[in-house]
C-alpha cells in the first residue's frame, strides 16, 4: 500500500511518498510519526534543511537506498544521527564530525513541490521554522 506523509513547515504543506524499497528505514520513519520539531538549514551539507528526532534513530541502519548526494525534493534519513533532511538543491550527507557520509533516500516530495522547497530554502536566511510530519491517511 502506498504510504504518504504530510509535512507542514511553517504555513506551507506538502505530501511525500515513502519508498517501499527502503523497507526497514521507511518503516522506522512511518512508525515514528508524528514527528514535530524545528527545521534548520544545514551548515555543512548544502541546500537542505534538517530536523532531529530520537524516534528515527538507528545506530546500525541497513543499506537501503543509500546516497551521499542530496537532490531536490528528496527526504533523507540519517538514522545514525536521528536526522531527517529535506533537499531543495545540491546537497551532501555531511557534518562537522563525520564529514562525508551517507543517508537513506527514504521518501520524495510529490505535491506542492516548488512552494514547499522554497520554504525550506528560506530557512537559511529567515532561521528555523516549526515542522510537523504526520501520516497522510485517507486524504
Amino acid at each position: 500500500m502506498r504510504r504518504e506523509i504530510r509535512i507542514r513547515l511553517g504555513d506551507v504543506c506538502c505530501l511525500a511518498v515513502l519508498h517501499d524499497d527502503a523497507p526497514t528505514l521507511s518503516a522506522l520513519l512511518w512508525d515514528a510519526l508524528p514527528v514535530t520539531g524545528e527545521l534548520r538549514h544545514l551548515r555543512w551539507g548544502g541546500e537542505a534543511g534538517y530536523v532531529l528526532s530520537g524516534a528515527v534513530k538507528n545506530e546500525s541502519p541497513p543499506d537501503e537506498r543509500r546516497v551521499s548526494m542530496y537532490g531536490r525534493g528528496q527526504i533523507l534519513l540519517r538514522a545514525e544521527h536521528g536526522e531527517i533532511a529535506i533537499g531543495y538543491g545540491q546537497g551532501q550527507a555531511r557534518d562537522g564530525i563525520s564529514r562525508g557520509s551517507e543517508a537513506c533516500h527514504v521518501a520524495s516530495v510529490v505535491t506542492n513541490v516548488d512552494a514547499f522547497l522554497d520554504r525550506v530554502a528560506r530557512t537559511r536566511r529567515t532561521g528555523k521554522a516549526p515542522v510537523e510530519i504526520t501520516r497522510a491517511e485517507g486524504e
Partner: protein, 138 residues
C-alpha cells in the same frame, strides 16, 4: 590596524595578518564602513558569509599570503575571488558545492570577541544577521 564587526549590538575586533593589514587598511580608510548581511554558511560549517559585491571593497590579491581553507574559530577568510568574506564562529572549513575552496586568512578575532562569535552562532537559529564592518587603529 584592526577590523571591527558589529552585529546585534555586539562588537568584536579582528587583528589583521601582516600581509593584508596594509592593503586592507588603505582600502578601508577611504571606505570607512561596510553595512552587509551576514548569511549563514551552508557548506563551510559554523561560519557566516558577507557578500562584498557592491560594497566598493576591491582588494588586489594579497601578496605573500598563502592560500588556505581551514577556518579556526574566529578567523576571517577572504575567498580567492575576493568577493566573499567568511567569518567562522567554530571550527570550519571553506567549502562550496564542489569541494574545498581556498582563500586568504586575513585576520582573526581576538579573545575579547567571544560575545560577537556567540552572536554569530545564533544565525543557525535566526538566519541572517546584519552587521557593519570598519577599520580601526586600535
Amino acid at each position: 590596524m584592526f577590523l571591527e564587526l558589529t552585529t546585534g549590538g555586539v562588537t568584536g575586533r579582528a587583528v589583521l595578518t601582516d600581509a593584508t593589514a596594509e592593503p586592507v587598511s588603505r582600502l578601508l580608510a577611504v571606505l570607512p564602513l561596510i553595512n552587509a548581511a551576514l548569511v549563514p554558511s551552508c557548506w563551510s560549517g559554523p561560519a557566516c558569509e558577507i557578500d562584498l559585491s557592491g560594497t566598493g571593497f576591491e582588494l588586489g590579491e594579497p601578496g605573500g599570503l598563502p592560500l588556505g581553507c581551514s577556518l579556526y574559530t574566529g578567523m576571517l577568510m577572504l575567498r580567492r575571488d575576493r568577493k566573499v568574506l567568511e567569518i567562522s564562529y567554530g571550527p570550519a572549513e571553506s567549502r562550496s558545492a564542489t569541494g574545498v575552496q581556498y582563500g586568504f586568512a586575513i585576520g582573526r578575532f581576538d579573545d575579547d570577541s567571544r560575545g560577537l562569535l556567540a552572536t554569530l552562532a545564533t544565525s543557525h537559529d535566526v538566519g541572517e544577521l546584519h552587521g557593519s564592518l570598519r577599520a580601526v587603529d586600535r
